[in-house]
């Protein structure tokens, strides 16, 4: 018996069994206490609450919602707001991050230092502080609706939000949207065709210029084809507030600005290390085989830089999604604020609600991990 205990495999198994037993005992202890406590406090269990009436209203609802809707619908509203802000946040922070990252490597000393200072400043201020700053200082110092700042008489900004005109969903808008979609799809095919042609005949085709041109020309043509009539719904001041058009709330604006500015610093650093990691020798080799600096950039530097920069950038996207939960501090109705916030207070069913909320984020995380793994796998097989 003692001899068996000295066997490493046996010890390993024993240790694991003890761990499992310990875990089970711990979970049992927690579980039974929770059951008792729930009963005593009269908290309900189960997921029926998802079908009960919420009884409160939400300000920003991308899908229809009224106070007579269920908590289940509250969840959907929150989820869609989370996804919307994540979506815009990702796009805007990538653009800003790319710009700053490239500027960081500029030859101009002032620009380089400005970019570096931007990064050093905003990376070291807590994101929650940035959100509150935008919300409480910048946006609240905007004027009241009657004294809104206006652009071209059709876009207004005041302390209730940003008001923009929205086009009616008619033949013109549909035509323009289709035109844009066609341009994007066309660009992909154009790129493929240009690459094939280059392989066969050696002739280069200016894909980037062509696409840039198309993005401008095609929608204009589509506009005219569609009837040349957007029929905008303009925001108009009536009484104390605006009606018509679309309003983007101060909460959304503050959250977006803060998230974009903060996340862009990390993306900028990732872009910078990606480009710097492509060693000087690569650029020298490219020059010595006669590539122009544009060609060197396109064919040698950027492909390698992107390969290195993409995993940390995608990680930042995930962080942005998680940071959107800080909306709870300013009341933007994303999932933590309305579902894990208000609904939880109303129903008291913290365990179920938090479990669902965490599951949502875990799913987003898993999706991002899967994308990263696919990307790493693709890169590994390319690098033989």
């Amino acid at each position: 018996m003692m001899r068996a205990l000295r066997n490493q495999k046996v010890r390993g198994i024993l240790f694991q069994i003890l761990t499992i037993l310990g875990l089970i005992a711990f979970l049992w202890y927690i579980g039974s206490n929770t059951m008792t406590n729930i009963e005593q406090r009269g908290i309900r269990t189960g997921f029926d609450f998802l079908n009960s009436t919420a009884g409160f209203s939400i300000d920003e609802t991308p899908i229809e919602f009224s106070s007579t809707d269920t908590h289940g619908r509250v969840f959907l509203v929150g989820l869609s707001n989370t996804l919307i802000i994540t979506f815009f946040g990702i796009i805007l922070s990538t653009i800003l991050g790319l710009i700053i990252g490239v500027l960081r490597l500029s030859n101009n000393w002032i620009i380089k230092k400005l970019a570096a200072t931007y990064i050093d400043i905003f990376r070291n201020i807590p994101i929650l502080l940035q959100i509150l700053f935008w919300y409480n200082v910048v946006l609240s110092s905007l004027p009241s609706p009657k004294q809104s700042i206006d652009f071209l008489g059709s876009i207004f900004i005041n302390n209730r939000g940003l008001y923009i005109p929205t086009p009616e969903l008619n033949s013109t808008t549909i035509s323009v949207l289709l035109g844009l979609a066609a341009t994007v799809i066309g660009a992909i095919f154009l790129n493929k065709w240009a690459n094939k042609r280059q392989e066969k005949t050696g002739q280069d085709f200016p894909v980037v210029l062509a696409v840039l041109g198309a993005i401008i020309i095609v929608p204009i043509i589509a506009y005219f084809i569609g009837g040349a009539n957007f029929n905008f719904d303009y925001p108009k001041l009536g009484g104390f507030n605006f009606s018509g058009g679309k309003v983007i709330s101060p909460e959304f604006l503050a959250l977006t600005f803060a998230l974009v500015i903060y996340t862009a610093t990390f993306i900028a650093e990732a872009v910078r290390s990606g480009i710097e990691a492509v060693s000087k020798g690569q650029k020298e080799a490219a020059a010595s085989i006669g590539l122009s600096s544009y060609q060197a950039l396109k064919l040698v530097v950027l492909p390698q830089a992107i390969r290195i920069a993409i995993p940390p950038v995608i990680n930042q996207y995930l962080n942005l999604a998680k940071n959107s939960s800080l909306a709870a501090a300013i009341g933007y109705p994303e999932i933590v604020t309305v579902f894990a916030g208000t609904s939880l207070n109303q129903t008291g069913q913290a365990i179920e609600i938090l479990a669902i909320t965490m599951l949502v984020y875990l799913t987003i995380s898993l999706v991002v991990s899967a994308i990263l793994n696919w990307f790493n796998h693709k890169m590994k097989t390319k690098e033989r």
Partner: protein, 361 residues
């Protein structure tokens, strides 16, 4: 065969060095570059003078009431009057000496530690300081008045949360990192699950969990201090990230080190603690300091669950009816403090990185 005369070492021609030359290279080398230089100067001109005007030239420093803030600039009198709130939260005035003593002791310790070589004594001193601070802050024994945690706030609370977080997440993180590397499948799965679940969710959900659900886990009698719940949440959250950083360090250790340690007869724990961990930590330190900086920034989230950290004191201070409209000054002040701490820590991390780079060649 030819023999050559030795050449003189000359100074570089004046047109290739000096400020003018540097400016030509870096600021005005091409038309585009010149344009960017002017754009950059323009941006600076647009931002810096107005800010300085507000923050310094037009600002009011002297006085005690809002009426004395006559200028257009910042009203720093507000900060001056509210400084105790910002620094110590609602800590009773009469007991503030205890906190100030801790600060003194801390400075003394930092200076004193430079003269002590032996690692174990350093460790003892730091532990002793930690325990002493805790006693001084809480009170209740040795004749010190008890100060409940709901009166703790401001920068002091931020530092307490961050320090406790880092101190306790460290050992937990080490154990989880070891577990993740283990070849016992159960241990490894438990550790992987823990790390991946924590890293997949925002800190706010963990804080909600620890502040709302944690009390349910224990029988009626045991009550959990609000601060304690936040500390547990933050520690468990941070431990997962520490574990990942240490795991990165562990992976950098060549297999040969494990083999050599085995070959000279060390047991598992002797091997991990004497040979593997010291090397892993050296590699992981830059990332660990980065994690600490994140933790310091994350302490602001406790305001969402009702604790009065440094960030929350801005709203509290500005809500005073005698001082309406002072949010901007408050936020600027608090921003400066956070920025100073975080920037300082990241510079320290850069210094450490350079040190370890040269050590571990």
């Amino acid at each position: 065969m030819a023999v050559y005369e030795e050449k003189q070492t000359l100074e570089a021609p004046s047109s290739t060095k000096g400020f003018i030359h540097w400016a030509k290279e870096n600021l005005f080398s091409t038309p585009l570059n010149t344009l960017m230089t002017f754009a950059g100067i323009g941006i600076l001109y647009y931002i810096i003078p107005p800010f300085l005007q507000w923050a310094y030239f037009d600002a009011n420093f002297a006085g005690t009431t809002k009426e004395q803030c006559t200028g257009d600039g910042a009203c720093w009198i507000f900060i001056k009057m509210k400084i105790d709130l910002f620094m110590y939260g609602f800590y009773p005035q009469e007991e503030l000496w205890r906190l100030k003593t801790i600060v003194m002791l801390f400075i003394a310790m930092i200076i004193g530690l430079r003269f002590i070589k032996k690692g174990s004594i350093k460790f003892l001193i730091i532990t002793f300081f930690f325990i002493l601070s805790l006693i001084l802050v809480t009170g209740g024994i040795f004749g010190l008045e008890y100060v409940a945690t709901d009166r703790w706030g401001g920068l002091m609370l931020t530092i307490i949360v961050a320090s406790v977080g880092i101190v306790f997440s460290f050992p937990i993180g080490i154990i989880v990192a070891f577990g993740r590397q283990s070849n016992l499948p159960i241990i490894r799965s438990v550790c992987v699950t823990y790390v991946e679940m924590i890293r997949g969710v925002p800190l706010i959900t963990i804080l909600f969990m620890s502040s709302v659900i944690l009390p349910l886990f224990f029988p009626e009698g045991i009550s959990f201090d609000k601060l304690l719940r936040a500390l547990i949440g933050i520690t468990l959250f941070q431990a997962a990230y520490v574990a990942e950083n240490i795991r990165g360090g562990l992976q950098a250790i060549p297999k040969g080190q494990y083999e050599a340690a085995d070959a000279i007869g060390l047991s598992y724990w002797q091997k991990m603690l004497l040979v593997i961990l010291p090397q892993a930590l050296k590699v992981a330190i830059p990332n660990l300091v980065g994690a600490f900086i994140s933790l310091f920034q994350d302490t602001t989230l406790v305001l969402i669950i009702g604790l009065f950290d440094l960030l929350s004191t801005v709203t509290i201070a500005a809500a005073d009816s005698n001082w309406l409209g002072m949010e901007t000054e408050g936020y600027v002040f608090v921003t400066a403090i956070f920025w100073a701490f975080c920037y300082g820590m990241s510079r320290y991390s850069n210094k450490l990185e350079k040190q370890f780079d040269t050590n571990l060649k």
